[in-house]
């Protein structure tokens, strides 16, 4: 699942249409739209709204390891043409908080953007930053809930020194976002792939739930069980359910699995060149 966050409805509309997102939870304090893979929230402008929206999405029941986060929104820049797309590679705020450097694992990533989130609108756009009002809050909140590799922001230039922000209309923003859908698609595809890899790494070993249902494990023993089941998995070994039949306690289960593992050979395949 990817949590998509936009500050404005006009930023969200092209995404809702393109990804065929449906409104969800009409009684929620946030405007949410979703499909099977994406959940989009329209957060409202500013860092407090963004921070609250991230918190709300996190609490909405998707396990941490199964979610990635993407903020899409417009930004100002001194001289980049309207519609330019940037993947944020450095995010800072105007209070001097520590910078975020989202690890860039994308192939053919869009141009990099050094984002400065300001709590008031910026009209002179000092170089080299891209300016917005919520990106930093997005990074600082979302990165509390997952690894930095899965938290990213895409910014699209909507205003610059020649086209000031007061001339930016909702229709223009919609147009600018719509024009970047192909690039957004590609970032989403790669982000989903990364998220899946992370989910695979953190996936619990096969057989864990069945064991937990059958026997009572303390927290400590559950960890031991998990370790043993991972070891079986690593050795491509089936869980020896028949040996576990009739075991009365978690301790007996663990001891049986230990004994079983001790008899399994660690094999690293022999190369063909070896006699």
């Amino acid at each position: 699942m990817i949590h998509l966050l936009t500050a404005l409805p006009c930023e969200a509309r092209p995404l809702i249409k393109h990804y065929r997102l449906r409104p969800v939870t009409p009684d929620s304090p946030l405007r949410l739209h979703a499909n099977e893979h994406l959940r989009l929230a329209i957060t409202g402008v500013g860092r407090d709204n963004m921070a609250a929206a991230v918190g709300y999405l996190q609490a909405s029941g998707i396990p941490r390891e199964q979610a990635a986060w993407l903020n899409i929104g417009v930004a100002g820049h001194a001289h980049k043409p309207l519609g330019s797309l940037g993947l944020v590679h450095k995010a800072q705020d105007d209070r001097g908080s520590p910078c975020f450097y989202p690890p860039l694992l994308f192939h053919n990533a869009p141009e990099g953007a050094e984002l400065l989130t300001s709590h008031t609108p910026v009209n002179d756009y000092p170089d080299p930053h891209w300016y917005d009002m919520e990106g930093y809050a997005f990074f600082s909140q979302a990165s509390r809930f997952t690894i930095l590799e899965l938290v990213h922001a895409l910014k699209i230039v909507s205003d610059n020194r020649l086209n000031h922000s007061e001339h930016v209309s909702a229709a223009l923003v919609e147009e600018l976002v719509a024009a970047q859908l192909q690039a957004i698609d590609e970032v989403l595809r790669q982000l989903a792939e990364l998220q899946q890899s992370h989910a695979d790494i953190t996936r619990e070993p096969a057989g864990l739930q069945r064991c937990l249902q059958q026997w009572h494990f303390s927290h400590y023993r559950k960890k031991q069980l998990q370790g043993l089941l991972y070891r079986l998995q690593a050795m491509d070994e089936e869980i020896p359910w028949t040996k576990l039949e009739g075991k009365k306690s978690a301790a007996e289960v663990l001891a049986t699995l230990e004994r079983h593992l001790d008899q399994v050979n660690i094999v690293f395949p022999t190369p063909r060149s070896m006699p």
Binding site: P103, I147, L148, G227, I266, V267, F268, P269, M274
Partner: protein, 329 residues
């Protein structure tokens, strides 16, 4: 290969930084204050980052030369290490760096001059003693040579000081600069070797055993002192056959009489690093082996370690003189 470069503001104008930036004209360059801002940040995933590590150019501060662990010693009494780089191009599953660092980005400390000064101060402190310096503790000494220019810079320094020894520890075949230089008897090029099945299963992205052997042969022919490092010894089914075959392959090509040293090492990981690595690779066969924790270190059971060490030492004695052999305990 490298498409993102982070550069500390303070060393951006350093000639070495400038040369590296020019080498990657298409890379995105991101200015940072201190490398720790991103390298030490919590909530990074080393395994995912390893897919596309960035290069961080930084200045090394603080103590630049440190005492080396005794198990690194190859005959000298005064052993030191210095790390011009953190992290490695390769991806060996047993590598402690994956447990030690939160980030897989490569950090290159470009202030070689400060390392040189620290090395010279160390030498000057005890000028009548031989000092051994190890450069491959937090990285592979040679793997990024074309980018770092490490050999180019440090060889002349070690040439100047008759009591200074250097070990370059590597699995790399980046030996061009060495081949272009006059061999120096106090610079040991030490290659880490494992049976080919271990190379394939655990030493990801490294040159094959054959390629490493070819590099060793070239260097040895030219007169460079060579060290062989069978480290770490990896337990697996039929390990004796695999190690015996490895030694055969090695000594079919390498002249044992001209070797500087041969050392063996056990698999040892600090327990905290091991836990971290296990979180990254819970389904790795290496960690399903007969490992146990003892005194804060994870290793094979003592008697198994000893059995492997004894077997390999015995096997190696067919080719190598006792004084060339350094079993790490």
């Amino acid at each position: 290969m490298i498409d993102t470069l982070y550069v500390e503001r303070g060393i951006r104008q350093h000639s070495r930084s400038q040369a590296i930036l020019q080498r990657f004209p298409a890379a995105r360059v991101i200015e940072i204050g201190h490398y720790g801002e991103l390298f030490n940040r919590h909530r990074q995933n080393f395994r995912l980052q390893k897919r596309r590590p960035a290069l961080i150019l930084a200045r090394k501060q603080g103590r630049l030369v440190l005492p080396a662990l005794t198990e690194y010693a190859i005959g000298g009494e005064h052993n030191h290490y210095f790390s011009h780089m953190l992290n490695c191009l390769y991806d060996c599953r047993y590598c402690f760096l994956q447990g030690m660092y939160r980030s897989a980005h490569y950090v290159l400390f470009v202030n070689f001059e400060d390392f040189a000064r620290a090395i010279e101060q160390t030498l000057a402190a005890e000028p009548d003693e031989n000092h051994y310096f190890f450069s491959g503790y937090d990285c592979d000494s040679l793997a990024l040579e074309p980018v770092t220019g490490f050999v180019d810079y440090f060889l002349p320094l070690f040439r100047q000081h008759p009591n200074a020894w250097l070990e370059l520890r590597s699995k790399s075949t980046q030996i061009r600069r060495l081949l272009e230089s006059e061999p120096l008897e106090r610079v040991v090029v030490a290659f880490s070797l494992s049976p080919e099945n271990i190379v394939q299963a655990l030493e990801h992205k490294t040159p094959s055993l054959d390629k490493r052997l070819a590099a060793i042969v070239k260097l040895q022919r030219q007169g460079w002192p060579i060290g062989l490092r069978f480290d770490p010894l990896i337990y697996h089914h039929d390990y004796q056959r695999h190690y015996q075959h490895l030694f055969q392959q090695v000594f079919n090509q390498v002249d044992p009489t001209r070797l500087h040293s041969v050392s063996l090492g056990n698999l040892r990981l600090p327990e905290d690093y091991f836990k971290q690595i296990l979180r990254l690779y819970p389904d790795e066969a290496l960690f399903a082996g007969p490992l146990c924790a003892h005194n804060g270190q994870v290793s094979y059971r003592r008697e198994l370690e000893q059995e492997m060490l004894d077997f390999c030492m015995d096997a190696l004695r067919q080719w190598v003189r006792e004084e060339q052999l350094f079993p790490c305990q």
